[in-house]
């Protein structure tokens, strides 16, 4: 049994507009049998935070193209992407790529 963990979620580059304009969310993920990973976090976000238009945030079991995911200020590609196991106090950022100039 893994204990509940508290994490800090941030949304930016416009991704926050899917979450009522709130850029920062402090959330607690409940206790569960296995440790939390990013794949499960995406499901949890869809069920608990994302009120509408999930297709603007997820595609299949990952984030949609054009959203960059950062785990503790590093590109999630360096951290194992969907398989990364979340630690208490982790900081996870979802940032939309900007194209304007």
């Amino acid at each position: 049994m893994a204990a509940p963990i508290a994490i800090h979620l941030e949304f930016g580059g416009g991704a926050e507009l899917l979450f009522e304009g709130l850029k920062e969310h402090r959330v607690t993920l409940p206790s569960q049998l296995e440790p939390w990973d990013m794949k499960q976090l995406l499901v949890w976000i869809q069920r608990n935070l994302l009120k509408e238009r999930p297709e603007l945030f997820v595609q299949g079991d990952s984030v949609r193209p054009g959203i960059l995911v950062l785990i503790n200020d590093a590109d999630w590609e360096l951290m194992g992407e969907l398989e990364y196991q979340l630690q208490d106090q982790d900081n996870i950022v979802f940032i939309s790529t900007l194209h304007g100039g």
Binding site: G13, G14, P65, G66, D73, S96, G101
Partner: protein, 283 residues
Amino acid sequence: PLTVKPALSNEDIMRYSRQLLLPELGVKGQLKLSRTSVLVVGCGGLGCPVAQYLAAAGIGRLGLLDYDEVELSNLHRQVLHGEENQGQAKALSAASAVRRLNSTVECVPYHLQLSPENALQLIQQYDIVADCSDNVPTRYLVNDACVLSGKPLVSASALRMEGQLTVYNYRGGPCYRCLYPVPPPPETVTNCSDGGVLGVVPGIMGCFQALEVLKIASGQGSSCGQQLVMFDAQDARFRSIRLRPKQPGCAVCGENASVTQLLDYEAFCGSAATDKCRKLNLL
């Protein structure tokens, strides 16, 4: 190719005296600037400060590319243009502003749309490219052309009150496609015409872009390769993020690259190479 300046003139020494004092630049660095050519893709909110500060610093040749004309709604952020330039080609308006500031810079305006047909031939003539464009297809086009011709790409973007900056295809680091192998669904893309932008945000990002171009051109090197700099104007916060390395599986810079020549980027992205389509729909 640029004629190699053998030494600084007396006028150069006066003009650049305050930056010649810098140990990081000095006469050597200034001569390197004068031998470097930079293509600025887009003379809008980012391109204006980029062109302004590169010309002021004494870059050798400055290519200024934009297909568009100056409109009143540009002037809140595109500060090289003036009211009297409305209706004029942005590339020409920017070039004449830049010449007022520094007539010793060789300034080449291109009043045209960058396309798969002309991009390689243009970019091959320059040492460094600054992506100051405003739409997704152009960003992929510029990236692929820079990878295929081996040029470093200093790329910035801005929207609402946020900005992003990365140096791509630089010293073995990743390219734009390494980060974004698949273009975003068109309905998720917001541009400045529909999302809005505070003018000084591209101002800050464009100055930052000019800084990184100058560091590369003068031989100091950029610190933004394999890094994403994010700026949030609301809380005045900058943040540097470590990015993934160059991806072996990248379609354009990877080991078995499938993109070996430029494609139809509007088809690839499912959107037009302009930030105006949506505005037209709204009106």
